[in-house]
């Protein structure tokens, strides 16, 4: 198995800077997710790892040895592509066994390993079908089996769930995670879906314009983002500008929307800061005395398990929060909002 270190990766297409110094690490057996919108450099990073692309600068090493000079076909990595890239003219077994055939493995070993791989992704019985004869979910499993059958040092997955419908996506997502953990293989996973990233990863790298904005565990990324971009990309978020910030031991004393409170936050904030409040950190207070903020309910939508509610604050700011499904609230009501300051997080304010 393999520990991976990516250091200061750079890639430029004409005037477009695709990678602007990307650094990442993966410990043996970890699943590292590259998360970000399209064009952020996540796929480019993965393609450099796979050897499909030469970076202009930087290094990639596995267990200490540099692999940038090694062509893709000798890296021994398994790759799962966004559109699966199954060979349409080969059967399922042909696709899975292609790499083994290139290695000129004996027939019996090939058959055995193909069967093992098919069992691993629960595909038994489809050996002789062609890719166009099986469903999207099944194609995805073939792609996974094909990447794993060669026992790669590293598994690279490029938006593997993007073309599946929501129900299948869940199922295949767990399959990928299970298989990855069972085999203890190190994996890089590219996605633009934050829920996928949260659920599957050991580490998440949130990428922005060719750089890694934050590289941390999913919990840290969600609860302690280093900047608004990361908070925005990892889930529903409210931001309130602070009018006064004072560092104290273990956090900050702040004044926000007319209220004073003490919160934790990104170290080293000096003056301008904004407060991150996830919707689940907010609730409507039963009586206004317990409320930190007062506002008017502006929008309300029944979602089934809960209600989505937007409250306008007197100073102009707005808060989105989830309200219990049966709580009697109406548009135009005055509401007091309580916050759970454990889940509030202070970040430096970025001038846009």
């Amino acid at each position: 198995m393999a520990a991976v270190e990516v250091r200061d990766l750079r890639k430029r297409y004409g005037s477009f800077l695709a990678l602007d110094g990307v650094s990442l690490t993966a410990q043996t057996g970890q699943l590292v997710t590259l998360l970000g919108p399209s064009g952020c450099g996540k796929s480019t990073t993965l393609r450099c790892l796979a050897g499909f692309l030469d970076p202009d600068g930087g290094s990639i090493s596995i267990d200490g040895s540099d692999i940038l000079g090694v062509p893709a076909n000798r890296r021994g990595f398994g790759v799962v592509f966004q559109n699966y890239a199954l060979f349409p003219h080969m059967t399922v077994a042909g696709n899975i066994g292609y790499g083994l055939k290139l290695q000129k493995r004996p027939k019996t070993e090939m058959a055995e390993r193909i069967a093992d791989a098919m069992r691993l992704v629960r595909l038994q019985g489809l050996e002789d079908r062609y890719p166009r004869q099986i469903s999207g979910g099944q194609q995805q499993r073939v792609a996974l089996a094909r990447a794993l059958v060669l026992r790669p040092r590293l598994l690279l997955l490029d938006e593997p769930l993007a073309n599946l419908d929501a129900r299948l996506r869940d199922e295949v997502r767990w399959l990928i995670r299970d298989v990855q953990q069972e085999s203890g293989i190190t994996a890089f996973y590219v996605t633009h879906d934050q829920s996928e990233a949260m659920a599957m990863s050991d580490m998440v790298a949130v990428m922005k314009e060719g750089r890694v904005a934050q590289f941390a565990t999913p919990r840290e990324i969600y609860q302690k983002p280093v900047e608004r971009y990361v908070a925005d990309f990892t889930g529903e978020a409210n931001f309130l500008s602070c009018t006064r910030v004072a560092p104290v031991a273990g956090g900050y004393d702040i004044e926000v929307a007319g209220a004073h409170l003490r919160v934790a936050g990104v170290p080293g904030i000096r003056d301008r800061a904004e407060l991150l409040l996830r919707p689940e950190a907010l609730s409507i207070a039963p009586d206004t005395g317990q409320a930190l903020f007062q506002g008017r309910v502006e929008k309300l939508a029944f979602l089934g398990a809960s209600q989505h509610c937007e409250v306008r604050l007197p100073d102009g700011g707005a808060l989105k929060l989830a309200v219990q499904a049966n709580r009697p609230v109406g548009v135009g009501d005055q509401a007091g909002i309580r916050i759970d300051s454990e889940h509030a997080w202070l970040m430096p304010e970025v001038r846009q």
Partner: protein
């Protein structure tokens, strides 16, 4: 089908009439003609015979000409494929302005007449033409090559005429192969050659197939090139047929020859289709 749609079908009438009256009827008529006796005052006689076919099939000369046409067409098809594949590959990788220029390079010869292009080879391969001058200059040959009116030049000129017909479908097929498939094969350990052999070549077959059929059918029936560049000494089926029609005015014999040629062509096409049916079925993604 609605009444409007049925009325709209009537718009096809002129085209259907054109094809039916001036193509289907005449070719059926040609079959009938091939069984007519030879005439003395007209190009054909009034009664019927199977004599032309038995004459063709029993005369070694006709077999020899047929074989020459067949071998030439096969050779032209094969050479066309070898020449066209790299061009199509190169073309399929191009985008934007470069792609437009390459398309223009392929399309311009295609839209220039066969006669003009063959005539170009007459100048190129003349005794003191640019080809001989270049080869002499490079020291590859010691005296100029006599190429005009040789079978080799006929093959060369036919390849030149038909390359675009092969390049365009193969280019289209190559463009339809997702680059990820090649990357996938390399991630599984395939080198450049293996990726080509196992992925690109089979998946470009949907372009190779029509190219091969088209070039074979067109080259076996090509008249201009052998007539202009083949010289008087050597006959090919098309020149023989035209000589019977325009020279000796033995239309029934000419028809019978044309039908023999058509049948042989069809047999070849059918054989190729059957032989490659499985590959075609698989590679049609």
């Amino acid at each position: 089908m609605t009444r409007g749609a049925r009325l709209r079908l009537l718009l096809a009438l002129p085209a259907v009439a054109l094809i039916f009256v001036f193509m289907v009827l005449p070719i059926t008529n040609m079959v009938e003609m091939s069984f007519r006796t030879l005439g003395t005052t007209a190009p054909f006689g009034d009664s019927y015979t199977t004599g032309h076919y038995s004459r063709i099939l029993s005369d070694g000369y006709y077999w020899q000409v047929l074989l020459r046409s067949l071998v030439t067409a096969l050779l032209v098809t094969l050479l066309c494929l070898l020449v066209s594949y790299p061009i199509a590959w190169h073309m399929s990788k191009a985008h934007g302005f470069k792609a437009v220029m390459l398309y223009a390079l392929i399309a311009s010869p295609l839209m220039t007449g066969v006669l003009v292009r063959n005539f170009g080879w007459m100048i190129v391969t003349a005794l003191n033409g640019p080809l001989n001058e270049t080869l002499l200059g490079l020291g590859i040959i010691e005296r100029p090559l006599r190429l005009l009116f040789t079978q080799g030049l006929v093959v060369l000129a036919l390849v030149h005429v038909f390359v675009p017909f092969m390049v365009l479908p193969i280019n289209n097929a190559l463009r339809n192969i997702p680059p990820a498939l090649v990357e996938a094969s390399s991630s599984m350990g395939a080198n450049r050659w293996q990726a080509f052999r196992d992925v690109i070549l089979p998946l470009s077959f949907p372009g190779i197939y029509p190219g091969v059929i088209l070039v074979f059918v067109l080259s076996i029936a090509a008249y201009v090139t052998p007539a202009l560049l083949g010289g008087q000494m050597v006959s090919y089926m098309p020149t023989l047929i035209v000589a019977e029609l325009n020279g000796t005015f033995r239309w029934p014999l000419g028809s019978a020859l044309a039908i023999v040629l058509a049948v042989v062509t069809l047999i070849c096409v059918a054989a190729f289709t059957l032989l490659t049916a499985k590959l075609m079925e698989k590679s049609r993604a």
